[in-house]
Amino acid sequence: MNPVLTEIYSTVLQAAPYVIGAYALIFLVLFVYVFIIMRGLKKTEQQMAVLEELLAEAGGAHK
């Protein structure tokens, strides 16, 4: 490549890992957050199931 072109693009390769890293990390953080929410949701649903069981037992015992 002629020398002027090499100089024009000289910073690109050095910058690339940082740019890619920035985008990747942003997506990672957002996914981690979604994951945390999902985990909380699953836990709450488990608690809901436990409560429903308790209610069924209490209803059955009364009968």
Binding site: N2, P3, V4, L5, E7, I8, Y9, S10, T11, V12, Q14, A15, A16, Y18, V19, G21, A22, Y23, L25, I26, V29, L30, Y33, V34, I37, G40, L41, T44, E45, Q47, M48, L51, L54, L55, A58
Partner: protein
Amino acid sequence: MNDTKKAVRLPEAGGMWDKAAPFALLAGALLATLGFILTFTTAPLVLGATVNGVELIGDQMVSNKLLLSQKIFYFHVPVAIASMLALAFTAYYGVRFLMTKEARFDTCAKTATETALVFIICTMVSGELWTRFEWGVWWTWEPRLTTYLILMLLVIAYFILRNAIDDPERRASYAAVFGIITFVDVPICFMITRMIPSSVHPVVFRTDSGMSPDMLVPFLICFFGMILIAFGLYRLRFRQARLAERVALIKEHLED
């Protein structure tokens, strides 16, 4: 007598907003991806330092270095704006809580602050990488980075405060007050660090003023994408928080 009090409409999960939420999340993700692709294809690289000599690239005469690192801004700025927007909601719900004392608004405020924290982390991470590349150092006390550090500390302090109080109403009141103060403090912090000329450190920023339409379109797409993602995440978290609250309420009733 109580009927004359105007009923306050409380935000609830599972309503119209929640039906829209998954679509918003999907739309946001799509927009963000589209923006991402566009930034790397159609948006022109930004000009850096001048170079000796001129070359014909594409259909333009270029005589500067072309910078890839500026591409970080296409996500960094929208994420930052999204975090400030989330914080605005914290302050708004804080005000509504203080006016009505309804616990629902406290849940909204807490969820909004969580969303803000997530986006602040995104901002800090992307900003950190940009700083490392641009200035070659991992940290410098320049206005934007400093303001975001302070903002992050304030939001973390918000959650520490919430953890340290047991009484629900007091906790909600104090959190609301602190949320409002935080929201007012952040613009002040930014302005003060920016407007005082520093005798030691040069205040240099590359603000994205005057973007060409080629750059503006991907930027706006990324921006709306991020806002929609933020909204979707907020509704999702709010829904989960409401569900947990209802479960706790039922548990209390069953124990009676």
